[in-house]
């Protein structure tokens, strides 16, 4: 009996070359159109491009309640990396940069304004955060949903670091007594600006070439003192717990991690001023988008909800954009992480973005310093 079933023929060894090629071609064609078919069949989930750690379901429970699954999450290690990846064509709906990037990202055409009327929780947001001047388009539309905010400063071991009665200062990261036991964040903006603060400069966003030359000298000295530059704060946290580091540049959440490990540490309030930061969500321009508006705004509602906010405050030790979130967290917990007065924190001023022409200089300088130039 002759069979027309190719699999039968194959198994019984009666398949000739032509049939085999036909089968391969069919298989190839089938594989090629599969993504097409699944795209037609199911609607694309919202895509979220963020730092690692923010993918936990607690941050977007509302979305799961509605659609039964989490959005698709991809990670970046730093905002410049995210910027390059999206520009190279990476598809995502929502990304998670900080205030400093928003203008540049908008000028590069990778993000688009939000429709704030579609966001359920927008009215509950802190007003000063809603209208940060660098996060609006020239026409006044919002490009940015503030989501998490806090301080960057130095986390140091109180038992191993002797301040010798001096005021707390960023200078600790440049102190030769702790050679080989210091670490700092591998970030051009943070690195350059902290050095500039130590040098007493105040125009941190617009350092002149002469000032940058001084910064370079200081940073090169610092390079000799550092154990490593961290890209991932966990690295610094582990080294701190291991006793390898006595002080590191850190975000306020690291205090909790290291303190929980039973080490006597303090999150510094440097005399030059801590670095206040605000990060948040941006909507990519249509050509980078993958999911429908409906899912994207549903995701935003979930991220902006007071419940999510309370989780962010309690677990990460960061502030959240939604004022109501603070009511859901015990007051003593809020005090412990130093966010008792969000309005006062915001009034102290947030890091201003660095204009592109200066930013490129900072980046170049930083990358060269790391090579020992």
């Amino acid at each position: 009996m002759t069979t027309r079933d190719p699999l039968d023929k194959l198994l019984s060894g009666r398949m000739d070359r032509r049939d085999f090629h036909k089968m391969l071609a069919g298989l190839g064609l089938g594989l090629a159109v599969t993504p097409l078919r699944s795209a037609l069949a199911a609607e694309e989930e919202a895509n979220y491009f963020t730092w690692s750690g923010y993918e936990v379901p607690e941050c977007h429970q509302g979305y799961i309640d509605k659609y039964g699954v989490s959005p698709k999450v991809s990670f970046f290690g730093g905002t410049s990396e995210a910027y390059t990846k999206i520009r190279a064509g990476f598809k995502t709906d929502i990304a998670h940069p900080c205030t400093g990037e928003v203008t540049v990202w908008h000028e590069a055409g990778i993000i688009a304004p939000f429709d704030t009327s579609r966001m359920k929780h927008w009215p509950d947001y802190f007003d000063p955060l809603k209208n940060l001047d660098t996060t609006l388009t020239p026409a006044g539309e919002n490009l940015f949903v503030p989501w998490d905010w806090g301080n960057s400063s130095i986390l140091y071991r109180t038992d191993l670091v002797d301040l010798q009665g001096e005021e707390e200062s960023w200078g600790l990261l440049f102190d030769e007594r702790y050679k080989g036991k210091l670490s700092t964040y591998n970030s051009p903006q943070a690195g350059v600006q902290v050095a500039a603060q130590v040098l007493g400069f105040t125009n941190l966003e617009t350092l002149s070439d002469e000032q940058l030359a001084e910064v370079r000298v200081l940073l090169l000295k610092q390079r000799e003192l550092l154990r490593f530059y961290w890209d991932n704060q966990t690295e610094a946290g582990q080294a701190m717990v291991a006793g390898e580091l006595v002080a590191t540049y850190a975000w306020n959440d690291l205090y909790k991690t290291v303190n929980d490990a039973g080490l006597p540490v303090k999150f510094m309030t440097p005399k030059e001023g801590a670095r206040n930061w605000v990060c948040g969500l941006v909507l990519t321009a249509p050509k980078y988008r993958a999911a429908s508006d409906e899912r994207v705004y549903e995701f935003l509602d979930a991220m902006m909800s007071p419940e999510t906010g309370a989780y962010v405050i309690d677990n990460f030790g960061y502030g959240h954009g939604n004022a109501k979130a603070f009511d859901l967290v015990p007051a003593e917990r809020v005090a412990e992480i130093g966010l008792s007065d969000p309005m006062a924190f915001l009034a102290r001023g947030i890091l201003k973005p660095i204009p592109p022409e200066y930013d490129q200089k900072y980046v170049d300088l930083w990358e060269e310093v790391k090579l020992g130039l």
């Binding site: 730093g78 410049s80 990396e81 910027y83 390059t84 540049v104 000028e107 590069a108 080989g180 051009p188 390079r223 000799e224 550092l226 154990r227 490593f228 530059y229 890209d231 080294a239 291991a242 006793g243 390898e244 592109p356 022409e357 490129q360 980046v363 170049d364 990358e367 060269e368 790391k370 090579l371 020992g372 130039l373």
Partner: protein, 311 residues
């Protein structure tokens, strides 16, 4: 009507026309063409994923980055910048040096292992070979992290030494320096050295060794005159397999290199990422590729003259 038609015209009329038929005839006539046609799927893929990207890289290296945009006027600025800033050539030199040490160490360690399997193991060779590859079943990244744990501040070596009372404070110099990079890379690439060396040793005709012994060569002399020259192809392949990829490696130096173990790959990576200067990154990649090619040519020339001298 057929009566009046000339036979020649009849033949011509029966030769199929059209581009496909013409191509078929050409295919029958030319061996080269049929060869290329057989190769074409692979060739096409190579052109698509190898040649085109490299061409693109070369083109990019002549452009310049203008913050968010790329200025497409032809310029040598990137190449000049490389030689102007002494740190870049220095870093490339350092990378080549690190990779050369890695290659040397890897090959020196791999040779005895390969030799043992090829000459001393008689039964279950396959099992031995599989055993050698077992450590490489885990991810490259995990192996690098493993070294971090071994060399780390509270790592295996340090806590062991403290435990037996040899040191009081952990040794900080084990990790985050070029030494750690060399060590980690040498381990990570070992399999790529053992296998080609093993294959070339295995292929050596044993009667040649017997002949050498019969003619009075001692073990050492026999090794230098017969085994080593005949295993040269494997040695060369191993060296190249280790040297070429390690020059551009950036993961290992990033994880265990600290501030002093940076390599050229780290710079290229940061230029394509955070630095956001693809044209300069492309120029660096091209210069690195040319340097590697030159080093390899030098190496091949060196080994050839060595073989001539021995022979």
């Amino acid at each position: 009507m057929t009566d009046h038609v000339a036979p020649a015209a009849d033949v011509i009329a029966h030769i199929p026309r059209g581009p496909i038929a013409r191509f078929r005839r050409a295919l029958m006539r030319s061996e080269a063409l049929s060869g290329y046609t057989m190769l074409s799927p692979t060739l096409l893929l190579l052109i698509l994923v190898m040649a085109l990207p490299i061409v693109l890289l070369v083109v990019f290296s002549f452009w310049t980055q203008n913050y968010t945009d790329i200025d497409k006027t032809f310029t040598l600025a990137n190449h000049i910048k490389f030689f102007e800033r002494s740190a870049y050539p220095y870093l490339l030199g350092k990378s080549v040096l690190i990779s050369s040490s890695v290659t040397l160490i890897t090959v020196l360690l791999a040779y005895p292992m390969a030799y043992f399997i090829a000459f001393r193991v008689t039964k279950h060779k396959l099992i031995w070979l599989i055993l050698i590859t077992v450590p490489f079943w885990t991810s490259y990244l995990l192996r690098v992290f493993a070294w971090k744990i071994i060399l780390g501040y509270n790592g295996v070596i340090n806590s062991g030494l403290i435990e037996i009372g040899l040191i009081a404070e952990p040794l900080a110099f084990l990790l985050y320096n070029p030494f750690a990079v060399v060590l980690t890379l040498a381990h990570a690439w070992a399999a790529f050295a053992i296998l080609p060396i093993y294959v070339s040793l295995e292929k050596i005709d044993r009667s040649l060794l017997e002949a050498a012994t019969d003619l009075g060569d001692g073990r050492l002399k026999r090794f230098i005159r017969i085994t080593l020259p005949l295993s040269m192809p494997g040695l060369i392949a191993a060296s190249m397999l280790v040297f070429i990829p390690t020059v551009g490696d950036y993961v290992t130096p990033n994880l265990v290199g600290g501030t002093s173990g940076t390599m050229i790959g780290n710079v290229i990576q940061s230029l394509f990422g955070r630095g956001n200067n693809w044209p300069f990154g492309a120029a660096l990649s091209i210069i690195t590729m040319i340097t590697i090619t030159a080093m390899i040519c030098l190496f091949l020339w060196g080994t050839r003259s060595f073989r001539r001298r021995v022979a």
